[in-house]
Amino acid sequence: MRDPVPPAWRRYAEPVFLFALLFVPLLTDKYTQYVCNLVLVYALVGIGLNLLLGYAGQFAFAHAAFMGIGAYSAALLTTRLGVPFWISLPAAGAIAMIIGAIAVLPALRMKRVYLALATIAFAELVTWGLVHWKAVTLGTDGVDLKAPYFFGWRIGSDNTKYFVLLAVAAIMYLFAKRILQSKIGRAFVAIRENEIVAQCNGIDVARTKTIAFALSAFYAGIGGALFALTLGFIVPDGFGLGQIALHFSIVVIGGLASLPGSLIGAVLVTILPEALRGLQGVQELVYGLTLMLFILFMPSGIAGLLRKYGLLPREILAAPGWREQAAERRHAGASAKAAE
């Protein structure tokens, strides 16, 4: 197929894009900066759900709950125990990950529908816990997270928050990319395509599912902690079924099984509700219809469309450099033949 983007440009696309993102705060006012911060948070959360739903093919409703667990862990550790934010941020991810890995144990025996049902029940239990466990979570009063310290730096303004968010998001994006190119990433896709075939090829299905859940919960947890940082105030209601609607929309509109897709989805899905602010009914209607239209008519999302026109590379789940190695082998084989 014709390639409109020269391969040499492609190699530098990611660093250049990241470098350009450093200058965003120069162009924004306070409100647009806040929206940009939210986009980064949702990009992380979207990548987490995409690992589970898009790559590993597990249909679960617990992502918003893990985001809530992360947000509450970070906010409560920072404000009530005085833990510095640079510790409570990874701690939030770790707590979500551990709960995710434990919660998935009973779900390993389940398939499809039952998994979805069990995770809905789990999600409702978590929001119920956040409301009723008042001694720790302060119930429906919510938790304030005002300007925590990061290595002695006070992260108060939206601009400072942006750089913290950007650094974390960039690291997490590259981490996800590496994971997907590893054996684990290929195992995710294998169990998505056919569990039995995967098992016959020596993939431990239960272990792979546990990793997928734990990893996705880790992303949701970190995303949740950064969500708390961005908003400065969290309530249990924010992590219910409305939140999971956002996550599904990000992944489906952006593109299932595409990391850049999650970024695109996060941009669109975060800006839309800001434009329709205060019109909750219209928001729900637009999300619901878009979700249906994309699933019905464009199941590979915007990333799929871009891939079709060669604007996004096909994502190849092999270790970097495999092409060069393969070319070398071919070359070696050809010269061996020539020698004969």
């Binding site: 739903l53 009973p106 029940a121 789990f122 409702e124 119920w128 609607a245 619901g288 699933i295 199941p299």
Partner: protein
Amino acid sequence: MDIATLLLAGIAKGSLYALAALALVLIYKTQDVVNFAFGEIFMFGAFSGYISLKILTLPYWLSFVLAVVTIGFFGALIERVAFRRVAHMPHLTLAMVTVGLSFAMKGAARIPFGSDIYTFPPIFPDEPIRMAGVVVAPQGLATIVVAVAVTGAFFLFFRRSSLGKQMRATQQNMTGARLVGVNVNKVFSVTWALSAAVGAVAGVLAAPSVLVYPDMGVTFLLKGFAAAVLGGLDSVPGAIVGGFLVGIIEMLVGGLVSTAFQDVSAFFIIMLVLFLKPDGLFGVRAMSRV
């Protein structure tokens, strides 16, 4: 409160959950998908009852019938417009369509009605009846009677009528049914229409106690799930029994333990059943063909 009163209230609630489970199981058996938009169909049922009764001021029985018929047609319309073209697609796609539908329907109700809560009158004036020391609300009795009648009608329909037999044939083997001349598309339409109509019946019956608002469907959907999972997702009698059990357990937990746990008892049931007996009480052990 004494146990008998709690039990009777539990059965009244349970008959609503049984209807919800019945509606979910119907669609699951034919199309192998859980309808995540069911809570919103239930909500639409309650709202159409509210519109005909309070805004158009029609008589109660006519509003009830109108709501059931309208929502039944609406169910068939959803199947025709959104579902038929993806019926052969992976489970994930189908489930995602119903998730999208559920948000869209919630929004569609919120735009005209806002997030306000509307009251809905019961069928009979709400004077509790006392019989031999047991207190029961007339609405509860009416709910039980209607639910049992609907369930009975379904059993007759599946056993006796030609269409019912065609539906069962399609559930067992779609290709086989098509080969012997069953109009599978018609079966799909009828399934969705019946499921939505059952949802509307439940919606109008539940409206006086749960009140009418755009978010009313979520908890009901989860209770229906709990009932369907308890009975086994592919068993109609299981769904009915599961519904009554969930209702009774919920009332007993609320009355004897704490009302805070009443709302989450259903989720504990889901998780516990899936952990101990993943195919439910009456379900058939799932086999996967390689």
